[in-house]
């Protein structure tokens, strides 16, 4: 269990993780905005079933 505990954390310092974390977060938020929240008609109609199924407010 002790080994499992230590492997749950990343030893890499925050400075080395920060860029990737920010890029990953922005990319993910951008994608989810497009899939779930954008009012673009094309995106809405394409994502329609997923939006409903995922519980995004739709229509």
């Amino acid at each position: 269990m002790a080994t499992a505990r230590t492997s749950d954390t990343i030893s890499l310092p925050l400075a080395s993780r920060l860029t990737t974390a920010v890029v990953s977060l922005l990319l993910g938020v951008f994608i989810i905005y497009g899939v779930g929240l954008s009012h673009s008609e094309t995106l809405h109609d394409t994502a329609h079933d997923t939006r409903h199924s995922y519980g995004f407010p739709c229509h």
Binding site: S11, T20, G28, H48
Partner: protein, 241 residues
């Protein structure tokens, strides 16, 4: 830039998105299609149990709906193709956000703990918003879209903060604050339609609420575990200092 880590999260997201698609087709999509019959036809011509009186009252409420029978400007891959594409993209998006959260927090997603990351994602993105703003079928009455989206977004952000404070902070004040953050949007209340008259039979709506939450729980458990697997196998060398 931890390129392998990014790629590993995207691969896990695509995998979960692929599996989500058939899962959605078990119940969610049939229920959406069923509800759309009420949306488009206003209820006539159905052999369902819904009493005629209920369906008759609806067209007025539903008529201005811009969705009915349009040849929409959606991408040309067909309904299934579009849904598969969007699920792949959405899977990658949720995977990137989860992977980013783990990086910020200095936590490693593994095969063993992946399910907990998945459960956290489910709680934050699905369960908490659905608690006050139930998953909607087409043609169900609903408040202004932008207002509901704002409430959804705020609830997700507050719940994410709450989960962090409760799970990863030891202080008692942090856990109390986390609880407050999670409960606050529900006490405030989600935007609700003024007229709750619906063309869609309540049975369909309740089936849909349960089936979507079940499907999304499945998606997040797969995603969390896949994230752990992909990061362990492809990106662990990058995470050593």
């Amino acid at each position: 830039m931890l390129v392998k880590y990014l790629l590993a999260t995207i691969v896990a997201g695509l995998f979960a998105g692929i599996l989500l698609t058939p899962a959605m087709y078990v119940k969610n999509v049939p229920l959406i299609l069923h509800a759309e019959e009420y949306e488009n036809a206003g209820g006539e011509g159905h052999s369902h149990d819904a009493p005629a009186a209920t369906t008759e009252t609806v067209p007025a409420a539903v008529a201005p709906h811009e969705h009915a029978e349009e040849a929409g400007p959606e991408l040309p891959f067909g309904r299934f193709g579009n849904t598969l594409l969007i699920n792949l993209v959405a899977g990658a998006g949720f995977a990137l956000i989860t992977g980013a959260a783990a990086l910020f927090l200095g936590r490693r997603i593994t095969v063993q703990n992946g399910i907990y990351w998945g459960l956290a994602g489910f709680f934050i993105f699905n369960f908490a918003p659905a608690f006050s703003l139930a998953p909607e079928l087409p043609a169900m009455p609903a408040a202004d879209l932008a207002t509901r989206q704002a409430w959804w977004l705020i609830t997700v952000v507050l719940t994410a903060g709450g989960v962090y404070l409760i799970v990863l902070r030891d202080q008692i004040w942090a856990k109390l604050l986390g609880f407050v953050l999670i409960v606050a949007p529900h006490i405030y209340g989600a935007p609700e339609a003024e007229d709750l008259t619906s063309a869609v039979p309540p049975t369909l709506a309740s089936e849909f609420a349960v089936s979507t939450l079940t499907t999304n729980l499945f998606f997040w458990v797969v995603l969390g575990t896949a994230l752990g697997w992909a990061i362990q196998n492809y990106a662990s060398s990058e995470l050593e200092a």
